[in-house]
Every structure is written in C-alpha cells, then in structure tokens.
Amino acid sequence: MLDLRLYMLQRLTALIMAPLVIGHIAVMIYAVQGGLTVDEILARTQGSVAWFLFYGSFVVAVSIHGAIGLRVISFEWFGLNGRALQLFSWAVFALLFGLGAKAVYAVTFAGVGL
C-alpha cells in the first residue's frame, strides 16, 4: 500500500520532525520542572514567530506523517482498502492538521492580536 510517493512523504516528514521532536523533548524536560501552568507555557510561546514556525511545521509534518502511518496500519492490520482507506487517510490528516493548527494558533498568536 505504500508506493514510492507516500514512502517519500513519510520519510521526508520524519526527517523534518526529528530535530523538532528532539527540541520539543528538550524543552519539556526543562519546562516540566516544578510543574506546568498555562501562564508558563504562554509566556514562552505567545507572540513568538520562531515558536510558531517550530510548532507550525511540526503540525504540517505530523499530519502528513501520521495520516500515512495510520493508513498503512489500517490497511495491513484492519483490512481497510480502496475508497474507505483513502477517505480514512484524509480524515486523519484533516483531524491532525485542524486540531494541530488550532493548538499552534492558541499558544502563539491567539490573544496577541495580529
């Protein structure tokens, strides 16, 4: 079920995410000390173009990557195929991208006023 195109997309997005996830884990290890609060998070991210790009590109990459990943699993393990599989993959993408975009917006520019 993976042809060259999907395979390339999955690897490409993985490569994009790798440094981002390493960065994210590092931040978490740093930030998690003494517990997290909304203010703490927002203080760090609010209004920052850098964090927007950081989380933004992650969201784009992960929605593609996750959609392809779940596509493969649902085909191989749950026998989904044809149109249903196509629909499912796009739905996963849409869900991840939609929720992800909203979250990035929330922690960066929401409330800042553009």
Binding site: R11, A14, L15, M17, A18, V21, I22, I25, M28, I29, Y30, V32, Q33, G35, L36, T37, V38, I41, L42, V59, V62, G66, G69, L70, I73, V92, L95, L96, L99, G100, K102, A103, Y105, A106, V107, A110, G111
Partner: protein, 113 residues
C-alpha cells in the same frame, strides 16, 4: 499474536515502532485539543495541568514520552538502515534506540517528579 516466527528482536523493534506510532497518533489529537484550550478556557487547561501532577498521570506521561522517544530513535534507525551503508549490527542498533528512549524519558520523569 506473538507467534513463534516473530520471536526475534527485530520483529519486536518493528512492533514497538508501530505501536508507538499508533499511540502517538491517538494521543496527539488530545494533546492538540488541550493546548487549544489555552485561549478558549485557560482555567480548564490549568486544571488539567494540575491534574497532571498526580503520580499516576505522571507515569502515563512518562510512558508517552517514552513512546515519542522510542518512535523517534526507532525511526532514525530505520532511515539509517534504508539510506546509509548497511550495518551488520541491526540488533545492537535496535537495542540502542530503545536504550536512548529509556534514557530520555526517564530523565523527563525524574525532572517531572
């Protein structure tokens, strides 16, 4: 599901990669949803973040970070296998990926508690 022909370390590495990817894919929407509460209902997010102080939840987070790290290192291992010259130490590499994942997630856990 663990049938005899599967009982070799690299099959378990495959399973771990798949389950961690699956786990992440299931968790991420929740994670995103929580974060978007930051503006619409900051109190609820804060409430949630306080909820995460519970040890049991800490442990769950530990697991999640482990999954993320395991998937990350496992994914890097797979891409190295595919794109770098072949290494005869496949099992060692898989073990190292898991070891790193433990290291990172444990570090997170220790900082968190």
């Amino acid at each position: 599901m663990i049938r005899p022909h599967r009982t070799h370390p690299l099959w378990f590495a495959f399973l771990l990669h798949r389950l961690s990817g699956l786990g992440l894919a299931l968790f991420l929407p929740i994670h995103f949803y929580m974060l978007s509460l930051a503006i619409s209902a900051p109190a609820r997010l804060d409430g949630f973040l306080r909820f995460t102080d519970l040890t049991i939840v800490k442990l769950a987070e530990y697991g999640l970070v482990f999954l993320l790290a395991a998937h990350l290192f496992g994914g890097l291992r797979l891409m190295a296998l595919e794109f770098l010259p072949w290494s005869p130490h496949q099992k060692t590499m898989a073990a190292l990926a898991v070891a790193f994942a433990f290291l990172v997630s444990t570090l997170f856990f220790l900082k968190a508690i």
